[in-house]
């Protein structure tokens, strides 16, 4: 058969295309491809939720205290370990295998433990606030390593799991597809947390104080704000969110040493893309990183995280303050 206008190579390609269309069974099942897409979107939301919960605290601390807190992911991992190492066992002793309390209590417990621990290092934050970048980076990174050693000291070196809620929640089947219900819970929780945080930051008086201090802390002090109290509130909120995130995330994975560093890198890319010190920026950045990761895995699984860094470099070159930067909050 001659196909007009295609030329020799074009004709071959057309035949190959036809061959694929006829013999590739996937072409005929469009429904499945739509489902693939939906599951991918679902994964993007899950990944973004976790990244958002880490990055937002990093951003709040930077916004108000101007500290690039490299130890922040360790707060998140402390939340993970609190639940995987101790908390989940206690909760199961109390609640047995009833699902609702096992979903709700662990993140709150983790958030509480992490917030209390952050009080212990609050003086350190006061000390490095206003010091040079290199002092802050060295001290916060050192803090991250110390945290890792504390995890090892308390919970040992083996990976720990707390997967009971993940398993109890089971999977939702849609057609021939299964998706884990627990991840839906994480996504919804992250949305609710984001909403509450937004209301707090933009509608409450403390939120106003926080935003004011982040814009000009001296002016805020001159106008009568108790700066020390504001700083304490900042650290408490940031660590509470990190703990909450860790407690929410851990049932779907395992707590292991070295996790803090992995999350540090990802959270940093989120912040770089979204803009340092911006609430909306961390939301946008988390989504972009999560979308990029999924695209990489579809198109060039070999590259893994490379695409994320490439985009981060492009954004840093074109808009160094990040997508949401410049415009505060």
């Amino acid at each position: 058969m001659h196909i007009a206008g295609l030329g020799k190579h074009g004709e071959k390609a057309w035949y190959q295309y036809k061959l694929i269309r006829v013999y590739n069974p996937r072409e005929t099942i469009d429904m499945l491809e739509i489902m693939d897409l939906l599951v991918r979107i679902y994964n993007i939301f899950f990944g973004a939720s976790v990244l958002f919960l880490i990055a937002v605290g990093l951003n709040i601390i930077y916004g108000v205290m101007k500290i690039v807190n490299l130890a922040h992911p360790a707060f998140f991992v402390l939340g993970c370990y609190t639940i995987a190492g101790t908390g989940m066992g206690v909760m199961i002793n109390i609640f047995g295998s009833s699902i609702i309390p096992l979903l709700i209590t662990p993140p709150l417990l983790a958030a509480f433990v992490v917030a209390v621990s952050s009080l212990l290092i609050f003086p350190l934050f006061l000390f490095i606030s206003g010091k040079g970048d290199e002092v802050q980076l060295l001290i916060t990174y050192g803090l991250l390593l110390i945290f890792e050693d504390i995890f090892r000291l308390i919970w040992g070196s083996e990976p720990l799991r707390a997967s009971q809620p993940f398993e109890l929640a089971g999977s939702l089947s849609i057609g021939e597809y299964l998706i884990p219900v627990y991840n839906i819970y994480v996504i919804i929780s992250a949305l609710v947390i984001a909403l509450i945080l937004w209301i707090f930051l933009f509608k409450s008086k403390s939120g106003l104080l926080l935003r004011a201090s982040s814009m000009d802390i001296e002016m805020a002090a001159a106008l009568g704000a108790n700066v020390k109290k504001v700083l304490l509130l900042t650290v408490l909120i940031a660590s509470f969110l990190a703990g909450l995130g860790g407690g929410l995330f851990i049932p779907s994975a395992s707590a292991m040493l070295g996790m803090s560093v992995e999350f540090l890198v990802l959270a940093f890319v989120v912040v770089v893309i979204g803009g340092l010190g911006s609430f909306l920026g961390s939301l946008v950045g988390a989504f972009i990183v999560s979308v990029l990761r999924t695209i990489t895995l579809i198109l060039f699984p070999e590259l893994e995280l490379a695409l994320i860094y490439i985009v981060a470099i492009i954004i840093l070159t074109l808009k160094p303050e990040g997508l949401g930067g410049g415009k505060k909050w």
Binding site: E33, V39, F46, R161, Y177, L178, P180, E304
Partner: protein, 468 residues
Amino acid sequence: MSKKTGRRDFLKGLVSGLVVGGIAGVAGTEIYRGLAPPPPPVREEIPTTPIKAGIQAYLTGGGALWGKPMMQGAILAIEEINERGGILGRKIEYVVKSETSPEETVREYRTLVLDEKIDFYVGLISSSNTPAVGPVAEELQTLTFFVDGCTDFLFESVVPDPRFCFRITNIQSADGVAAAIGAIKLLNLTEKDKVRIAHIHPDYAYGRNAHAHMQITFEKVLGKDRVEVVYEAFPGLFKITDFSPYITEIIANRPDILASSLWGADVVNFYKQAIGYGLFEKMKYVSCIAHAASPAEAVKDFPDGHIAGVHANYFFLYPEWDKYPINKSFVNNYYRRWGTYPDSPSEGAYVAVYLYKNAVEKAYTMIGRFPEVDDIIRALEGMTIYGPAGPIHVRAEKPNKHQCYKDGIVGISKYDPRFGFSVLDKPIVIPISKITVPEGWEGTPDPKAGTLAYSWIRETWREGVVPV
């Protein structure tokens, strides 16, 4: 005159014959007694100072699921030997150091040799570390048993003519080959017209090696055009906690089998999350390594009916206990000492210590004094001993000189309520001689995969034939 032998003469002759014969017989035994033993060597006094062993194992991070049992296996062997009076009366002491990154691991190794003055060394899990420590062991001239870190590169290119390093665990290429053959036989893949394969492996030397050797085995045994690779991913080792995007891509490409060498914390995270997405109902998971270490933690509720590899080494239920008491007593002693069941790394470390003991004793019977390191090496080369996994042989000649070989097994995963975790069911034994480069083979490593085994399979296997 003819002399006739009379009755009296006959009797006389008989009696004297008996007497002479008897005397000769007795003398013969005496002479024989004098000849039988080898010339008695001049036995020198054995020193009474203890022998010092150095153990180096992953005690932190995702690799601890391997490092801890490895350390426990070595310690058990040392304690057993000490309880029975030591090696030629000398007790063994041990020092434990931690395995980490290559530079740090080498530094700790040097400390063991130079400061602790160890007599022999048992350690290492990672294939990044053995090529770093191997040359140092040769330089410092210390008898070194690598338990794992089984990369083909070590004895093929890094230390091609080793004197002081030995390695217990089967060579890495055998891992991927054994799992692929296990999958082909246990899943009857030869009966399928086309097999769609997805791959997921950790992104470093081991994952790449497993990927290459599983793939070439599938292509050779099933025929190249019957194998279709639909997806390949290489997540960083212990860097990914959320595998859901990978799981979704694997499912979306609809493979028949998923070939994987994920291990340690990675395999736990992967399979737990994959259960949530129903991956295991949609394809067969072919793992070369998931059941190999700490099965009680690593594969506690692993789904049934998938291909379970043990790194082509050892699973504590096999060889069956009633048929092979060495394994039974090892499992019992290990359980009594550590409260858990042994696995591939613990068996490897246990065998390493016993190889040392056997070599020292063998050398002693030959030279009559406590052997120097060179005597022990001579005794080790070509030695075969019976370990819990069966006979294990130390290769004496190139290629892969000083690599140990034993038959591997692959089975089907099945939850066992007696133990409370997933075990190997219906295991098939993969004879190591059929899947690894034979002694004396003169080929060149494949430029792409970098191993001799890859070229050997490519050049010598017949397409479409199951080699085992």
